[in-house]
């Protein structure tokens, strides 16, 4: 067998095992909307950990983070800080979201806005921004699979056929099993990812330099500026670091899928305990950084940093091992991508189409429409991944600039009685509009500060100011006591 064949067979085997587990997870359950989207609200600490680790550690962590360590250097350290701090923030909001979610039967993030603020246009707008922010994140995952397969096949298979196969597989298992499939495939995916990260993080420096310490010593000698901020970039300094870490850690659980994952928990305490232990998983990423930094000296001058990690693996290890790393990488792209598609489809069917166009639809019809939407979304993201190219980190940060704008509406909605619907709507519109404007006009970062963060500050200011200027809402728009107040009665 040729090296490419050995390698591809290994990848295919791993993906097949993962997919089979995904199908089996849904076999003996009746898939109504509640089971498909929030797993019947029965996940304990272990399944929650798997689901959340499954959706958080994506191809971005694998190829994007190492790609930035290679091409940008120091600024990439923001990843270690934001993942850890994202869990710190989650400690204070997820249990509360879970509690109101159970009380009022929420399944999606948009439900939260609809029930808290009693305005279906606000809820629909939240949906649209959420779905739009998923597009770059999904595109990131598919691009990742394309990179893996083309490097693993020694450039024999193009990215387009690779991405097409990946889309077909993931649409199939989301279609069949819903959120439970994702939690179970994560078992295989996370185990493989930890093994892969440790072996390349230790192995690559060992093979080429004799150890991690020797590798950093060599790099500190040859390219000292690469290891601190702004690294190899002109404008990603400390102001950028602080603003980007704040933007992304506050926005971490504002992704509609991460937000909705809290509804699958058995209790609020489960989520609090989860927030305490999850940061440890971030240690895995440190090893991926070691491999990324080692690549700087092993393989200088690659134009696309996202390819660096796998190319160095291909050069340092036998083909079967490249196959295992590639298989782990492919699953880390497909597992999160399937949950993004699932969430976006549910949002579209339940929170956008039904309330605005077909109020009479039953839950079963919504579930059916959501499944059809899964197929459509798969095709749309595939098209985008084929026809555009950006680095993986830029795609991620674009999505974050959008979803973090939900933060004021969520956190003030939970903790501040005085916040009003008009204020949240105005702040969200201003935040999204300014983020989109700054990014499209290439003003990110602006004066060294992340554009999404500036938009978030504007958003917060507007929500606070307009809330104080508009009359307090202690009752919802039907004149009933606000559902939030019932729980204290």
């Amino acid at each position: 067998m040729s090296p490419a064949a050995i390698c591809l067979t290994t990848i295919l085997g791993i993906v097949a095992i993962g997919t089979a587990i995904g199908f089996l997870a849904g076999v003996h359950r009746k898939m109504d909307l509640e089971q498909w989207t929030v797993g019947g609200r029965g996940f304990g600490v272990v399944l929650i950990f798997l689901l959340m680790a499954g959706e958080v550690y994506t191809t971005f962590a694998f190829l994007g983070a190492s790609g930035w360590a290679y091409s940008r250097g120091g600024p990439t350290l923001y990843v270690l800080a934001y993942l850890t701090l994202g869990y710190v923030v989650s400690f204070f909001i997820l249990p509360q979201i879970w509690e109101v979610g159970r009380k009022l039967g929420m399944q999606t993030q948009s439900d939260f806005f609809a029930l808290r603020y009693g305005n279906r246009y606000l809820a629909a707008f939240v949906c649209i921004v959420g779905i739009a922010s998923f597009v770059p994140y999904l595109q990131l995952q598919l691009t990742g699979v394309g990179i893996i397969v083309s490097v693993a096949s020694f450039d024999g298979i193009g990215r387009t056929p690779a991405m097409t196969i990946a889309v077909v597989l993931l649409v199939a298992f989301v279609f069949a099993s819903g959120v439970r499939a994702v939690a179970w495939v994560s078992v295989v995916k996370d185990a493989l990812m930890v093994i892969a990260a440790l072996s390349i993080g230790i192995g690559i420096p060992l093979i080429h330099f004799g150890g991690i310490g020797a590798m950093f010593a060599a790099l500190a000698h040859a390219r000292p500026a690469h290891l601190t901020m702004p690294g190899a970039t002109p404008n990603l300094g400390h102001a950028w670091y602080v603003s980007t870490v704040l933007l992304t850690s506050l926005g971490f659980y504002m992704w509609p899928h991460a937000f909705a994952a809290s509804f699958t928990a058995k209790s609020g305490d489960t989520l609090r305990r989860n927030a305490v232990v999850m940061p440890l998983y971030t240690l895995t990423l440190a090893f991926i950084f070691f491999a990324g930094f080692a690549s700087v000296l092993v393989l200088p001058g690659m134009s696309n940093g996202d390819l660096a990690l796998l190319t160095v693996v291909r050069r340092s290890f036998p083909p079967w091992f490249l196959g295992i790393i590639g298989g782990a990488g492919a699953l880390t792209a497909m597992v999160p991508a399937s949950i993004f598609i699932l969430t976006a489809a549910t949002l579209f069917a339940k929170n956008l189409y039904r309330p605005l166009f077909a109020p009479g639809m039953s839950d079963d019809q919504v579930a059916k429409l959501a499944r059809t939407t899964v197929v459509m979304l798969g095709l749309i993201s595939l098209m985008l991944a084929i026809f555009s190219s950006t680095t993986l980190v830029s795609l991620l940060l674009t999505g974050y600039a959008g979803v973090t704008q939900f933060f004021p509406g969520v956190v003030l909605g939970l903790y501040w009685k005085r916040v009003t619907t008009v204020a949240v709507f105005a702040g969200l519109l201003a935040g999204v509009a300014s983020a989109v404007f700054l990014m499209l006009s290439h003003r990110d970062p602006l004066f060294g500060v992340s554009a999404g963060f500036l938009a978030l500050c504007l958003n917060f200011l507007i929500v606070a100011a307009v809330s104080l200027l508009t009359p307090a809402q202690s009752r919802d728009n039907r004149g009933l006591p606000h559902p939030w107040e019932l729980q204290h009665a």
């Binding site: 120091g74 800080a81 850890t84 509690e99 901020m229 903790y415």
Partner: protein
């Protein structure tokens, strides 16, 4: 919604200060510890120390929930 306790909020502020706001104090290569540049070493330490802080916050919140009876 019941606000979190002051103790939990202060404990959560520690990792934010250490990993985010204080970046200009620790973003350097020397001294290299355990073979790692200082900034990387610092962040890795704080990943673990953040868990410790949040465990403290968990204890603070859990004690409060016990006092007020099980959460509704």
């Amino acid at each position: 919604m019941k606000r979190p306790s002051l103790a939990a909020l202060l404990l959560a502020l520690i990792p934010f200060t250490a990993m985010c706001f204080s970046v200009s104090l620790w973003d350097r290569i020397d001294p290299m510890l355990l073979g790692l540049p200082f900034n990387l070493f610092w962040l890795i330490c704080w990943i673990v120390l953040s868990c410790v802080c949040m465990w403290g916050a968990y204890r603070a919140e859990a004690a409060r929930h016990r006092q007020n009876g099980p959460p509704a």
